[in-house]
């Protein structure tokens, strides 16, 4: 079965990303994002496993004029699996969820996740009520996904099948207060970012 390299895939997804906000789940997706850069509109999580998609929903509803991309792994998405139903019910038109699915818990010794044992997260997302779902296995599908991230006027969930190789870790900042202020300052301006 064809599997994409996770960092090649992410470089394509984030090519000319513009003012796209990117929230990542903890672990490899955060390192992947850091391998590309370190930008004010990046919000990499270092914990809160299972919470990435809901952080994205909060951002999407608070910033309806901005597109928000949640980039997470299969293990993290499985832990927050109910949030796919919560998100479908809200139907945030500016939220995109991309699951980098290597069928492994990459941080803890490459143990197989449920997606290696029969769970299909695209079907889960569709069953939860998200209409725009897809599974990505090649460069052409990836290019179309990138287009839709910027142009689709509806919530989108894509599962990108990637190879389970372990890549050198590139660490994003892990000071949560710094990451929070940096993103708020970029979105709201300094004065509002300092308020409650």
């Amino acid at each position: 079965m064809n599997r994409l390299n996770r960092r090649d895939a992410l470089r394509e997804i984030l090519r000319e990303r513009g003012d796209l906000i990117v929230v990542t789940g903890l672990g490899s997706p955060a390192y992947d994002l850091a391998s590309i850069g370190n930008a004010p509109l990046d919000f990499p999580l270092w914990g809160a496993m299972g919470g990435a998609a809901m952080v994205g929903l909060g951002l999407a509803l608070a910033q309806p004029q901005h597109r928000v991309l949640v980039l997470t792994g299969d293990g993290e998405m499985l832990m927050g699996i109910g949030s796919l139903a919560t998100i479908a019910a809200q139907r945030p038109r500016n939220l995109r969820i991309v699951v980098l699915d290597n069928e492994r818990f990459g941080e803890t010794g490459q143990q197989r996740t449920h997606t290696a044992m029969g769970t299909d997260l695209e079907i889960v997302a569709r069953g939860c009520g998200i209409e725009n779902t897809r599974t990505i296995r090649n460069a052409a599908e990836l290019a179309a996904l990138r287009q839709d991230i910027h142009s689709l006027d509806d919530v989108l969930c894509a599962v990108v099948k990637i190879s389970p190789e372990e890549l050198p870790r590139v660490l994003p900042p892990r000071d949560g207060a710094y990451l929070t202020h940096r993103l708020r300052e970029a979105l709201l301006g300094t004065e509002r970012a300092l308020e409650g």
Binding site: V23, F43, L45, W46, G47, A48, M49, G50, G51, A52, A53, M54, V55, G56, L57, G58, L59, A60, L61, A62, Q63, H66, G80, G82, S83, A85, T86, A89, Q90, G176, A177, L179, T180, L183, R184, L187, L188, R192, G196
Partner: protein, 181 residues
């Protein structure tokens, strides 16, 4: 009194809803509880508010964090049995120096009929405290508005994590065996 009437002296839900409005708290997420029924309805019927039904309470912690990142204020409504579900996710607002506001209706304490509610009900306060969330308890209707107002200021002006626990004396204890709804 029917559900649509409002008595400003006894209707704590209307008081809390009014405080949400004056303090720009617009995103309300919840796992429902009977005790929150009227407040949820008031928020759902308010065109300036967005209500988000959760599958589990920790989703609401992460949701509030995202809302804050985007410049909006959120509140989480749940019953005491949901407090334990939030434990790890509460690291998010704590580490990120974000406000967090929860309104928790208590079960498993005063006159509880269901023994399965007792373990989480009796440990909610300790669990929240252990997670760095300040707890304000309310046991009478007259205290609701002033306590909520203090909690809102503490959460959003001082950027703290705070939960207001509405005691079972205030919301009433259910007893299905007795025919309560």
């Amino acid at each position: 009194m029917t559900m649509n009437e409002s008595n400003p002296f006894t209707d704590w839900a209307a008081q809390v809803h009014a405080l949400f409005k004056t303090n720009r708290i617009e995103l309300i997420s919840f796992v429902p509880d009977g005790g929150h029924k009227r407040l949820i309805e008031l928020c759902q019927n308010d065109s300036e508010m967005r209500t988000v039904t959760l599958t589990t309470e920790e989703e609401g912690v992460a949701f509030a964090a995202g809302a804050f990142l985007g410049g909006k204020r959120a509140a989480l409504l749940m019953q005491s049995s949901g407090v334990g579900n939030c434990i790890n996710m509460l690291s998010l607002p704590r580490v990120c120096n974000m406000p967090f506001l929860a309104l928790v209706t208590m079960r498993g304490e005063w006159g509880e009929f269901n023994p399965w509610q007792v373990p989480m009900g009796s440990s909610s306060e300790k669990v929240l405290d252990a997670c760095g969330v300040l707890v304000y308890r309310v046991e009478s209707i007259e205290q609701v508005a002033s306590t909520m107002d203090a909690a809102i200021q503490f959460a959003f002006s001082s950027r703290q994590r705070v939960a207001v626990l509405l005691g079972q004396k205030l919301i009433g204890a259910k007893n299905f065996a007795r025919g309560d709804k």
